[in-house]
Amino acid sequence: MSSDSIHQFLIPLSEASLRKGPNDKIVMSSRVRLARNVRGLAFPGWAKKNERVKALETIQPAVESLPQMKKSYAASMDQLSALDKQILMERHLISREHAAKNAGSGIVVNKEESVCVMINEEDHLRMQALRPGFQIKEAWEDIDRLDSTLETKLEYAFSPKLGYLTACPTNLGTGIRVSAMLHLPGLVLADQINQIIQAVSKLGLAVRGLHGEGTSADGNVFQVSNQMTLGQSEPEIVERLTKVLFQIIEHEENARTKLMEDKPKVVLNQIGRAYGAMSNAHSISSKETMNLLSLMHLGVDLQLFPNLQRPLVDELFIMTQPGHLQSTVTEKLGTEERDVLRADILRERLSKVERPITPPTPPSTGEKVD
């Protein structure tokens, strides 16, 4: 498929936001990524430009010929505009690092946006399976299948002792990164998030922000993933993360219950103000929007909104990010113009959303509303 059609190719957000998965109140999505390299070729970071271009010419057709990629979109990174790359990143199909790549790097993504292969990122191949909700085991099975087919078409750099050889020794062995994107407003509001992050880090797992390494946790969204890749099998790594994720889910649920018992006014105040601000704003930043949408999302989970459903909140979460916003208009927008357009869209889309209800309050506990 030709590269000028990325906008037509991507699933409309209104449709994408309808995707459902187990435990998706808290686990927004699951992802498993495998790092692979082709035998005999220098790693992308060290290869010269012509070597990278040549590698891409070998790898891309092999990936496109996979049965999982029957209906797919493939492009070299220099064929994509900065805006296209930004949009792919906002949809979590490519990494921030890959968005910065040009000629000699490429991408192949399937129609469902459930499998995406980055070519010549840090490794020759970074292939990932994505699923809505808590489905890390299923995502591993998806990508395992794809990998097993691809290994018959490309010869991987593999050592019986060290496993799959990767550019960075931190990915050596299985080359796997299993991660889940979690929405944890309860733990943030209850001020317990740092304890959780510390506990999870001690288990050798990583907690990161919305867009991975080095990004902030806007919108109360956190990515939890394995860090160690050598010395354990893939199912062991998946199993370990699954256990930890179940615990985090439980902590988040408990935090929400306890907040509504102990400090209902604090929670209702925040959600009500989020609704008020977004329904009436005339200029609003991307960061503030994410944080307020997170509170709306919490309000939906707590059944406070009579006629607001999750899909609209999810749609707005992606739609109001800079790239997606820019793609709705033809002229190039500055930050301030974007903030105005974002507010216009939010007011319009939330105009029919009724304000959150006030559930009957238990006897006053003398709580202080801040």
């Binding site: 019986p160 002792k161 062995g173 990161r208």
Partner: protein, 169 residues
Amino acid sequence: MLCNICKQNEATVHLTQIVGDKMQKVDLCEACSKEKGVSDPSTFSLADLLLGLGSAQELEQAGGGAEIKCPQCGFTQADFKKNGRFGCAECYHAFAEGLDSMLKSMHKGVVHKGKVPKAIAQTRDVAEKLKKMQKDLDKAIAEEDFERAALLRDEIKETKKRLEQLETV
């Protein structure tokens, strides 16, 4: 004390982490600590930074100061120190010394326990089968069971052929 990263400015940020039974220390200047995100705890992964620096130091010690170069791609230790990444798959051989202790600080173990490409798994299985048959043959000869030895000898010949075929694919 100078900053570990830029080696120019005075270090004002000092970090310590215990990895396994070893203590690793990092001293950074104001600018480098900002660049590495140390000033913002929510985005800072101590492990990444420490592993990156620690591993480079370990490789250097292992090399005994002499500059090792990958024969395949020309990548050097200095390059690894700078990037924290290798140049090609062959680098894992070239820089094998000191690799284990670096991997120990990063991973659960130093030996791969996961998936193996099917072609390699097959070759490995056949090679193991061959080894076992060789042993059986020795035993059969020692026991003067020549009928069995003759049978095994033929089987070994077949398996060797198969292994050769697998390895050339």
